[in-house]
């Protein structure tokens, strides 16, 4: 007969009462895939000279990909939050503007948006400068990195705001009413009651957006950002060896995405326990 130590049994009983929380101490098996992919990359780098030179060439691109992704992700969380509050607002103008933003952005491919931010927006600014004679605008030059981050943020912010909006709306109306009836202001109720509950709901889709963004950030290679993909193209252009280059670039993306999606599901589990 198997008997559990009373303390463990007690803990498990408590957890069983919280829906969705189950005691799990085993390692998520998908981590093995991350480890495997990293091991493969390391073996290639240390045993194959051409992979080693590809790695050294691409390394700055990996840093750029990571920075572009993190910067845009952080900014789009803010943009998404503002957009969601706008979509939920009763204020006609705030509501209208954020709805317009979301609808327009969702109807244009990301690649086209990035091209617009990099090529169209600066020339419009220069044109305005020429027409008005303001020198500062006339000489405006787009910084590819900044425009790429702005473009990604602008586009993903719209999707993010829809996720946040759905998350906030999934919290029963009675929660807000109870908070208001206790005398809390709208913003106090949002901050202490609605958002903490909504965050648990939106964590999985918001985390998945990070993984999508990481992959979509490869599009910035088209607008003069020397990210991982662009470095791969440059290397291929001088060495004419597509197979190892793209195999390696793909492997790098895979490692990053596998790692981040593991991180997301780990976070998800933690917030379910943290009550």
């Amino acid at each position: 007969m198997e008997t559990k130590p009373p303390l463990v049994a007690e803990e498990e009983r408590k957890l069983a009462l919280i829906p969705g929380a189950e005691p799990s101490t085993y390692m998520d098996p998908w981590w093995w895939l991350v480890i495997l992919a990293v091991a493969l990359a390391l073996v290639l780098i240390f045993t194959q000279p051409d992979y080693q030179s590809i790695f050294h060439f691409i390394l700055p691109g990996i840093k750029i990909t990571a920075s572009v992704t993190f910067a845009s992700y952080f900014l789009m969380l803010i943009v998404g939050m503002i957009g969601a509050l706008g979509r939920l607002s009763k204020n006609f103008i705030f509501h209208g503007l954020s709805s317009l933003y979301v609808e327009i952005v969702r109807g244009i491919p990301l690649l086209v948006q990035l091209i617009i931010w990099y090529y169209v927006v600066p020339s419009v600014i220069q044109k305005i400068g020429n027409d008005t004679g303001i020198g500062f605008l006339m000489n405006y030059r787009a910084n590819p990195l900044i425009m790429a981050v702005v473009g990604l943020t602008f586009c993903y912010g719209a999707y993010m705001s829809e996720i946040f909006r759905a998350g906030i709306q999934s919290i029963p109306k009675g929660q807000m009413e109870a908070a208001r009836s206790l005398g809390m202001s709208y913003f106090q109720a949002m901050r202490h009651i609605i958002l903490p509950q909504a965050i648990r709901v939106v964590l999985p889709p918001v985390g998945n957006e990070f993984v999508s963004l990481l992959k979509d950030s490869s599009l910035v290679s088209v607008v003069a950002v020397a990210d991982m993909t662009r470095r791969g193209q440059e290397y291929m252009a001088t060495h004419f060896n597509p197979i190892p280059v793209w195999l390696f670039v793909a492997l790098m993306y895979l490692i990053l995405t596998l790692f981040s999606s593991r991180l997301v599901s780990w976070l998800e589990k933690r917030t379910r326990f943290e009550r």
Partner: protein, 244 residues
Amino acid sequence: MLPIIQIENVEKHFGRTRALRGVSLNVSESEVVVIVGPSGSGKSTLLRCINRLEEYDAGKIIVDGITLDSAQNINTVRREVGMVFQSFNLFSHLTVLQNLTLAQHVVRNRPRQEAEEVANKLLKKVGIPDKAEAFPMQLSGGQQQRVAIARALAMNPKIMLFDEPTSALDPEMIKEVLDVMTNLAHEGMTMVVVSHEMGFARAAARRIIFMDEGQILEEASPQNFFSNPQHERTKLFLSKILHL
């Protein structure tokens, strides 16, 4: 003495539905008023107008001398008026104790220790002193509703509104909630209660109000209300609920 709640000719529309058609009602301090009436007659709407969870279109509501108009007044009034909902509406991400202390903290600026003392005292009062660290989902319906009552009381309201507080409960839990409410009534709390619990109405109410189609059709003491209803509608309604 002035009534603590004055409702004058209040009108409320939802699109084309006329939820309230010129309702007037005064409630004096320490009075317990029970509102009954068929579904859709506007009971909840009236209650929710008193703390402005619902805006009314015409008329006037004065609570404790404060007219419900500006946003400032509304928040002041909401501090004086506690509300208990049919579906409890406990904050599900917070423990019972946090449910009771959060608004004290945020709205009343009470220091943590004081807020917790108030909370523990109230949990004792509603009969669940040992559940402070539990989460709402770990409690029975009756316990959740008692926590909800304690949460409202923690703000030291002068008035308590109850919207069908027992109708989501299993029969065996109704009594524990009604007992808490009856005690509160005996302590002199001003209460407006929408409920079809006639036992409670008999034991605690000074007046029973019968609403139908957005109007107050009849009001009487519990005794008269049950033994000598005036309107045909009231009689019909009573025959339905008393047969249940």
